[in-house]
Amino acid sequence: MAVNYVPSTLDEALLLRKDRKAIPLAGGTDIMVQGKRGLGLAPQLDRPVMIISHLKDELGGIRKDEDGSVVIGAIATAAEIASSDIVPWHVRMAASGMGAIALRNSATIGGNIGNASPKGDLPQPLILLDAEVVLISFDGERRMLLDDFIKGSKTTDLHDDEIIASIVIPPHEFTYSYYRKIGMRKANAISKLSLSAAATIKDGLVVDFRASSGAAGPKVIRSREAESMIIRRPVEDIEGIVPDFLEAWDHAISPHAMPRYRRNTTSRMLTRFLEAIVNGEPEGIVR
């Protein structure tokens, strides 16, 4: 049986991480399931676990920085994120649709990112927003794009001595926003497919355009190549670009199971979003 730890400070946690390679446990909603061994048996993992859910001062909280960035502490729960009015809309939507109430009250953003499941709810909108992840270790701190941090299904760039400290979402101002999650049922369901999209229109020009697909490949998919087909193009050109754009996006995603459904639905969702831009629909959320 592995020894488990409850560090009383962040420094202690970082030391345990460095010396014992302990896995941080905040909400436990993924780890407890992964270590499940059967009825009447304590979960067991191949490495020691350290519980960090009480390190709220160091790792919790949600705040807005002077430059407008939103900083979400790694152990902020889905429920806290969903009910925060400073968290960007896409991320709130994803947080509010995660699992059931009990899960949202314990699952954390750091855990959802660290688990790196392609079906995870939060990475998808965070990657859309170019969020960065702040990683700390006993030796210091480093920051990187979440899109680079998550390398594939269940794999990240997290070093053995690091823990995820926070997520930084740079400021943005979108003219149009879109978010859909298709679960296996209406509530308490793992994502079958999800999509976020956003666009900023200035003086008839698309100055920003992005999209991110969840559960459509080994990791959340953004295609800068496809996005660049639309960025800096006048709105009146968009309609003509749509077919090529959809083809490029379809090329970027690689759904393993139910590929027809995932590809076609992704295509229909993007079409709907672009249609709102083309039609000059009222600013805001596209449904």
Binding site: R37, G38, L39, G40, L41, R180, I182, M184, R185, K186, A187, N188, A189, I190, K192, L193, M258, R260, Y261, R262, N264, T265, R268, M269, R272
Partner: protein, 712 residues
Amino acid sequence: MPLTGIDDKVVRVDAEAKARGEARYVSDYVLPDMLYACMVRSSVPRARITGIHLPELPEGYYFISAKDIPENGRNELWMIAKDWRCFADGDVRYVGETIGLLVGKDRNILRYLQDNTRIDYEEGVPAVTIDDAIALKGGPIVGEDNVMCSLFCEKGRPMKDVFNEADSVFEETIETGFQEHVHLETNGALITEEDGRYVIYASAQCPFYIRKSVAGLLGISPEDIIIRQTTTGGAFGGKEHFPDVLCGPLLVAESVIHKPIKLIFDRSEDMLYSVKRHPSKTIFRTALDKEGNILGIEGTIYYNCGAYLSASYVVLQRGVFHANGVYDFPATYLKGVGVATNTFPSDAFRGFGAPQTLFAIETHLDHIARRFGFDPAEYKSRYFIKKGGETVTNGHIIEEVKLPEMLSRLAEASDYYRKAEEYGIGSGRGIGISFYNHGGAFTGNGEQAIIKAHARLVKEGKRVRIEVGSTEMGQGFQTALRKIAANTLGIEMEDVDYPNPDTSLVPDSGPTAASRSTMIVGKIVEECAKEMKERWDEGDFSVEKEYVHPEGHPWDQDTFRGDAYLGYGWGAAVVEVEVDRITNEVNTVGIWSCHDIGHAIDELIVHGQVNGGIIQSLGYAAMEKMENRNGHFRQESMSDYVIPTSMDFPKQEWSLVDNPYQWGPQGAKGMGELVFNGADAAYVDAVERALGITVTKIPIPPEDIEEALENA
């Protein structure tokens, strides 16, 4: 205080203990010196076992297998046949087949032993689907043709003549999938000994089935084993025969070890290694005239039985007998074939074979109606069977059939006809309708010839105790039966006891299955209560009665001719949907139902059964997908096999028509399964209309709708 009336809504007698967490389920039981057990199961679907390698067993740890069955015992579980082996011996026929039982004190050590037990196999090619079985993939599993059971019934003129005269013949194949019970409480049992007798505590529907099934393992008589039903947290048919598969190995282990032993499945075991609803494939060929009138229907119905027969033959019979739905067609020929595959044996599940064929016939008729431009409700109503009408088994409907009234009530409540016309086909909105029934109690003369149910009332002072083998499993029977007894006796419900059955203390009132408990056992209890009331002043005494078969229900079990059921429950459902054209997500905006269950004993319980049955049926149609690849179930948790939440089907309107049943207690008929039997078809009809697609296979999650759209 006024006495409780039969119609009064009461708080369920088991509600408080369950809500407080005071009810004791089998996993709550701890006996002194108790050991735990876990199963060693086959990990391949079809193979010869060439070696079993166990790690060294510490002292006090045992591996129990076929070798431990004594000489005078037989390695068989006696369900309906005796083909299901207690322990695989020499070969395995499905993934999850019990090879042995590891028993010992510490679950951690058991887990270690389980993980380090290795079985060597010489694998064969498994047959998994109905088509595999028909094609004899890997060679036959049973007999020469993989047919485990079959039957046919016919009515009217020979189908050959009917097809000759037809203007057109419409043929289609309709399929349904596996369904997992997902009872809240997983399977579990505990065995011990008391005064030289074996005592089994089990979460079970049918305590008397268990003792009959397992006694032969030790060559003892069923009376040498006591079964005590523990509070059972849901069953849906999944605890009708399946507890035998836990209790058999436990009994053999007990005969060797002589200490209390407990075996509880966790959720993933309960999903992967337990019985399921039979997948089905029904091929209908319907002879039609120019105007689209039905001249006759020929149906070939295949059920996937899995590796052992279990209850499949009876399930198949019910499937065949319900394959013309609530309709009276001039001619019909229905053939049922139960095929053997290398999957976990299929078994009882709410509806017991009827839901598959009812879904098939309803959907088939929808397709014919649309083909000829008729509204499905109007089209189907032309064929509603009536009192005196001939059933597919050449029997007759004895009761008044209120389907026309139910249809008009439903149509009004849901505004069906206006919406059907307004939404049309392919508008994204759709309304669907279905009709269904369920034959009450055991098929044919089974109640009289096979079960011969008994019930007993015991008076002690002013209290009366009900002694029956019937079980509460969440359906509300303890409340219903206490109410029937109290009401007939003219005493308070609080003065009537009905403890969980102990087979050494109560008479065998038959299995808690087949929607028979209220209708059959309730009636016997009512008769006992009538006599007890007359003799009330005699002091302490008991009254026991046997089931009396109503006159005028001829039945020949050899030819399947006559009155297949003593009476039917009837139902109709309307479902309205809006489908998201981008994602294919179906939003169910309205559910209406109307049922004829005779006379309701307790409307609150009935309401719960209606809501639950309909949601379970909608889940079956919409999202409950259990896939089997190469003999392995792919869904093993409640996050990958999803059942609906209240968010998916939030609102239901329901009603009952009163149609008291002559032979039921206070006019009641069975209803627990009826309410499962038809909402699925109404849902599919609504989705088909909304999108202009044709569905021939359920479930239809969004990805399957995508496929249907591509084929449209």
